[in-house]
């Protein structure tokens, strides 16, 4: 019996979040999907819940270029927090700018950098099936 998995998607591309939601549903590995359209919304949602492990996501799929609070700012803010359980962060971005990839490598919390579109196999690898 596997643990129920909560996945959080932070991306301002509404079309993408919609499609991703459908894909995740198809893999039937995601019990809970949280979608935010900029970093600040996600941060405001999570920061009061850090002590409540069951309310926190297991995986965050983070976009970089977003209004209000972008992926980098979110990473900076989030690394200040102490979540009650390990959260794996993946960057999923359209950016092919080498500078972005180099910068991502400097964040220990980032497990991997995926360039969009994210494939079914990539998703399967992320959710561990």
């Amino acid at each position: 019996m596997r643990k129920p998995t909560t996945i959080c998607v932070i991306d301002d591309d509404r079309m993408y979040t919609l499609i991703l939601g459908k894909q995740l549903k198809a893999t039937s590995c995601c019990d809970n999907l949280l979608v935010f359209h900029h970093g600040l919304a996600a941060w405001e949602y999570f920061s009061p819940l850090m002590a409540l492990a069951e309310r926190l996501p297991d995986i965050i799929l983070l976009d970089l270029n977003m209004p209000v609070m972008d992926g980098w700012q979110f990473l900076d803010e989030f690394s200040q927090l102490k979540p009650a359980k390990p959260i794996t962060i993946y960057i999923v971005s359209s950016s092919i700018d080498p500078a972005d990839h180099q910068k991502a490598a400097t964040y220990p919390a980032v497990a991997h950098f995926y360039i969009k579109p994210i494939s079914r196999n990539d998703l399967a690898a992320i959710v561990g099936t």
Partner: protein
Amino acid sequence: MQTKIDLYQKTVPLAQLGIWEHNLLTGELYWNTIVRAIYEVAADFTPSLKQTLQFYPDKEAVRGLINQVLQTHQPKTGVFQLQAISGRVKWVRLRANVHLERDVCTTIHGTLEDITQERASIQANLAQEQQFHQAFDFAPIGMALVSLAGNWLKANDSLCQLLGYTEAELRQITFQEITFGDDLASDLNQMHRLLAGTIDRYSIEKRYIHKRGQLIWTLLHVSLVRDQQNTPLYFVSQIKDISERKNYIELLQWQRQRLDNIIQSTGVGTWEWDVPSDNVICNPRASAIVGYDPDELSDCQMTAWHKLIHPDDQLANTQLLTQCFQHQMDFYVSECRMRHKDGYWIWVEIRGKVMEWTSSGQPRFMLGTYLDIHARRSLQEEQRKTLTVVSNQNSRLLNFAHIVSHNLRSHAGNIQMLTDMLIQEVDEQERQEYITMLQLNATNLQETLLHLNEVINVQAVDKRSKKPVGLRHEVERILTILSEPLRQVEAQVQTEISEQLVVHYDPAYLESVLLNLVSNCIKYRHPDRVLSIRLVALPVAEGHQLQVIDNGVGIDLKRHGHKLFGMYKTFHGNADARGIGLFLIKHQIEAMAGQLSVESQVNAGTTFTVTIQA
């Protein structure tokens, strides 16, 4: 008769004339006192003919003269040496004649004169003459006696060798004939002054024509010999060969001329600096570089030159000079701006080298150049500016390429995911939903492409699209266009722009910039207060500044400043429209060689500043 004898007796001692008479019939010999004084005998001494001859070392010569007179009956004069009683040797002139009575000689008589002193001076003269001839003949320089008319009377070996003629040949010609034409007048002129007694001697440099035709440079000294009556007799000329010296001088002058030509043709200004006194000598070109006449700067102090250097270049120049003075560098090379007389700055390269040091190692004398490098520096400056423009353009293009890639990839990724799911999906209702989403995606892609197209158009525009535009008029026109939304929010708009202000701008860009900035004010107004907008134009160094100041929500620049003008994902139907608008107008402003900057405080308001190049 008596008086005649008296006169005779008075004058004879005056002339110191010895008188003698020998009676051939009686054998009696008479001497007057002068004769006795010459022989140095006593007054009572009774002379005899035989004894008389004893006084003369050359008795035969004296006897010979006497015999000749006796035989020929003609008077005769001879000069003889005699030794007086005291042993002193004297020179005497002896005259003798005979007295005849019926063709028979009765007496022989004559005079005796002491000419020792006269002889001595003649001897001395002879010796001097001898010496003169030796000096003349064997002198290492050319010497000649020249007649008043210019004929060579006598020439020594040195002169003959110098001119290539023998002495005999020279005597056939005048000095005028072998003097180089250009030099004759000055020689004759001096010669006439010498003859007139205006000068005692003269020296000139002149050219003679050698027998073989070549010119010979000489230094000529001429003096004039006159007789006792001061009548000119002849010239004494000394002629020294100075061809070698002259050739060196000519060579030096030629080289100097060549150097001058080179300096002149390269346009290099030269300076010579006596460091302890600070005195500087410059060539005319040096002064001309900074716009001065040669006499204004040619002899002045180095301090005056250094004062012409631009204040910003003074320190570097002084440091370079000091390094040279402290032996850290052999040469001093400095590029600096110098103030032209007309007030503008001109780029000059200064080079220098210390040529002489004092014993304590201080610079004593320095040589150097000034070179006008204004054209080169201006070109470099121009190239640097061009490079900056090109680099900026390049980095904008690269940025743009990333943006294009990013935005197109977002849509492409979505389409790929949707088609992937469409293929896998069996449920017809789900498939319909995917197709609808695909259509939506296609629309979004189209919109993105339109935006990108707009950006490309901005990049493609060049400066030729600039037109004079009345800024105040243009602002009012935009405010009219936006009058409806402005009225809806009851905005207060204040315009502080002169009616006369005309800027050179692409009219479409100006409209775009103003529309965007004013629309933003409306979009990001503060919900709790009435929107107030101020449009202000200020003169600045580059031209003008247009400020759009609002009292809206403001922007957290610390957080968002870096991406404020970026082209972020704003094409996906979300509410944030600032991205493309600011991105576009920033490019438009930069295409007009201006800048867009922002100052803002959260909850207080935002000021956008546009610089407009004059």
